[in-house]
Subunit: 352 residues, 2 copies
DNA sequence: TGCATCTATCATAGCGCTACGATGAACTCG
DNA sequence: CGAGTTCATCGTAGCGCTATGATAGATGCA
């Protein structure tokens, strides 16, 4: 209708706000074209020092902040890595996410976080929105996912790293360790300490498949290793907390009166068991030996100090970052190098 | 040069890959225009049931995943909330972030995470990249930021929530509690228990301003409350761990031989102190009363159970989410309602 | 001096989507 | 029965940036 009349040469005819300082503004002030500014931002060496200085000055004068959303769209790859963990409240994953975030941030990558709460459907929804960001990579926890999740990921063509578990076929890449082996290590250690009535105390194993695998590795090793060994697996349906550990120990004592060794699926549970023994006056390790998992903050300092299996969430984070960065820099890991075993270490302390 | 000759009607003349299933593809298959698809995605009720069904079918046939990067650019507001915490390894922040993530995810908002590691410069860099995503909101920890950070945030016009601290002037909104008050509560509790030689055990207080404020609130209350009260603040330069707690307790005993009460800036430190007392055969609370902070997982179950101050990271997360969502839905909180005091609760248990 | 080779810079076409305004068709009602 | 209203749908101009190829100048070499 109106052709943009009157005084203002810039009638706000169309579209939204135009507050933001854009690359155009910087270019105008620095007396260069927008492309040069863009080039300077991505590859400063390709721009003459004079122009570069001018641009830098303009950027700081205007307080320009590049719009990564626009950049991501134009470049068809946003500088984002999507991480999906069961829960960040879990110290294991907190450690991994923390390390991963730090490593990726150093390369200018942002971390987008999601919590699946151990639910496959929830994970699927998270993967869906994750992919909607055209991420540089997607990081998942474990190897168990819904069929739809796998399909989505495969179809997207985005690099995928599954962490904290190996021993199955990953969608793309995997960094972690074998959970059955962890369980087996714990069992072997207890058997070596001449324990014959042992139990695995776990929590939420109906959902936490990895904990369940540690339990079955434990049970199988116990069965294989020797005759006249009693072995039970006891599950607490709620979260893995110190309180759950106390409950589980009481329950184990009811089921196995001559209990002399336990492995816990988590150091929090082990700590709860320690406390419960102290309450009941059961000497550790004399009567019951305790092996934990996780080597958490308190495990070296508690009384008695806790024998535990350290999976190294830190190392997992570092390796995941390495794989992702390698992928971004063009190297396509193939074959066996797509699966990295970070192993586990049994740290013997006073509780066994 | 070449005009796009030969067999292929779609020579890859210009630009990048065009693999992705776009809204155009969906529109084509569903026999509607792209705008209708977009409308359907954002407001299904505005589209006729017939067209909607057709579109839904097309989406699932093609496995279409909308590109939020493009959407964010077009709408000038990406569906992202940037959260910057000192460290996710800290159980407090893990809890808050977890809750916040869950609440925001329910409204279709993604969380982008950054760790400042208690560094103001690092925080500034994080804020800069955070703003580069044109986020729907930015969430920071605490009220202490570099001048440049504040300027950046103010200039951006993005809603900002500072959490885990109130008692100063926020950039925009704040949700948290008063740290000096927490310290004072701890001091009052110890004094009420007739303790007269008390100490505050903290870690990393040169960087963790909030812990430092708890300490000074503690010291001031002790000074104010009564004469002939000895009060020391002892700092461990490293991270707040159980081990640091043991060290700090030993140090406190050296400095104050007749020590009879301590407040710890963190339950991990308190647990370390508990363990150290147990090792040295010091009865708790008879000889030394212990107050913690955080009400962590183990605090109710340890021996003796820990008197502690609960700040409720959960509640903070919920309130932050509420503020953000209100802002997105157009309500602009003003005045006092921009600052929410979540308070703190002292939970008395066996350690005092 | 003439022509090929660099180098620094630029113009421009999208990236995939949303929001705006417009267009008909269907419906209402005096 | 025609003017006004509502409703579903559409066409299209950007959002701010990057990547591509083009264009001048500067330089090299015969």
């Amino acid at each position: 209708m109106d052709t943009g009349s009157s005084l203002q040469n810039r009638v706000p005819r169309k579209r939204r706000k135009m507050q933001r300082v854009t690359m155009m503004d910087v270019a105008r002030l620095a007396q260069v074209s927008p492309s040069t500014v863009s080039l300077y931002l991505r590859k400063p060496s390709a721009v003459s020092p004079a122009a570069g200085q001018e641009i830098a000055r303009a950027i700081s004068t205007l307080g320009y902040v590049p719009n990564l959303v626009a950049g991501g769209l134009a470049a068809a790859s946003s500088k984002v890595v999507s991480i999906i963990v069961p829960s960040i409240r879990n110290a294991f994953f907190a450690e991994t996410v923390s390390t991963l975030q730090a490593e990726l941030a150093a390369e200018g990558l942002q971390v987008i976080l999601g919590h699946s709460e151990y639910g496959e459907d929830q994970e699927e929804a998270l993967v869906r929105t994750a992919l909607a960001w055209a991420p540089a990579a997607v990081v998942l926890t474990g190897l168990s996912h819904s069929a739809e999740t796998r399909k989505l990921l495969q179809a997207s063509g985005v690099p995928v790293v599954e962490m904290w578990e190996i021993g199955g076929e990953p969608v793309d890449m995997a960094v972690g360790f074998s959970h059955p082996h962890v369980g087996a290590s714990a069992a072997r250690h207890l058997l070596a300490k001449r324990r014959r009535s042992i139990a695995f105390l776990g929590a939420r194993m109906q959902e936490d498949h990895r904990a369940a695998k540690r339990a079955s590795g434990f049970a199988e090793e116990a069965k294989r290793a020797a005759e006249h060994v009693t072995c039970e697996v006891i599950n607490h349906p709620g979260a893995a907390t110190v309180e759950a550990g106390s409950l589980l120990l009481s329950r184990a004592l009811q089921q196995i009166p001559d209990l002399d060794g336990i492995a816990c699926s988590n150091d929090l549970i082990a700590l709860g068991a320690l406390f419960e023994c102290q309450r009941q006056g059961i000497p550790i390790p004399d009567t019951i030996a305790v092996v934990g998992f996780g080597d958490l903050d308190f495990s070296a300092s508690c009384i008695p100090s806790l024998t535990t299996i350290r999976p190294s969430g830190d190392l997992i984070g570092k390796e995941v970052a390495r794989l992702i960065l390698a992928g971004i820099h063009g190297e396509q890991p193939a074959g066996a190098s797509r699966i990295i075993d970070t192993g586990h270490v049994l740290i013997e302390r006073r509780s066994t």
